[in-house]
């Protein structure tokens, strides 16, 4: 299965990178009220079982891909 992991700075956590992007977008003339910058990780998991893939990717997020103190994550799964 192909997993797409989205890691985001948690709500309320100051995101200086997002602020810089936001200000740059405003500078370009876009009407932007907020920008937040996270991370995207594409993973091919060696199983076709959706439940098993989800369980594995959740563990990957908890152990390595996201820092639970400051980041939240979302997982999307599709057959490769």
């Amino acid at each position: 299965m192909r997993a797409t992991v989205l890691v985001r700075p948690k709500h309320g956590i100051l995101d200086p990178q997002g602020q810089a992007v936001e200000s740059s977008l405003r500078h370009l003339g876009f009407d932007v009220s907020e920008a937040r910058v996270g991370r995207l990780v594409d993973i091919d998991v060696a199983t076709d079982d959706r439940g098993e893939a989800l369980a594995q990717v959740e563990q990957m997020c908890e152990r390595l891909l996201a820092n639970p103190l400051i980041e939240s994550f979302e997982i999307e799964l599709e057959h490769a």
Binding site: I13, L14, P16, Q17, A20, L64, L65, N67, L69, I70
Partner: protein
Amino acid sequence: MTEPTRERRPVVPVVVWPGSNDDRDAQLALERLGASAPRVWHTDDELPRETAAVVLPGGFSFGDYLRCGAIARFSPIVPAIEAFAAGGGLVLGICNGFQILTEAGLLPGTLRPNESLSFVCRDVPLRVERADTQFTSRCADGQELTIPVKHGDGCWFADDELLAQLESTGQVVLRYAADANPNGSVADVAGVLSADGNVFGLMPHPEHAVDALLGSTDGVLILGSLVDAARLSLAELV
């Protein structure tokens, strides 16, 4: 069989990861202060015999990929460091070493990109909040130290609840002086101690402040405290 060295130098290994770059300065400083400081590669799965304290140096382990320290935290040497710390062993993390210790859960909080998004490299004034720790025993309470920082991800963060807890237990040992916070860290935190008091991490680099030729020698107060404590633990082994 190892024989006790005649000089009775406490063994204080410095762990080296790919991308570490302050390991030799740390080694030099520790040896000048009377320790034996072998450099240990991160794929070793045990610490040298008679290790009295461990130093995790600064640098950019694994290129700071993902998050600073996030990959290094899974190196084979880390379980040995965790076991050493669990037994009360002294562990000091400097800069990237601090980041690795927070990623490993040996120290509270986390290090985020500097609020300014700029890399900062300069001497900063620090205030010693507690001189009754094994890492600050050569200091005085409230003493101001000048030690350089050089980091892009030094913004220590803890949520309100965790911060309140750490303040109440006296785990914030080192703070940037008022109006001199170089990275936006919460409550001006520059260095935190573990609950048990044997693991300490700080963003400033004491190993770069041990020679008058290069400016401040205040780093000796931190590393010297560590070597003193390591020497004491050596005496206890005999």
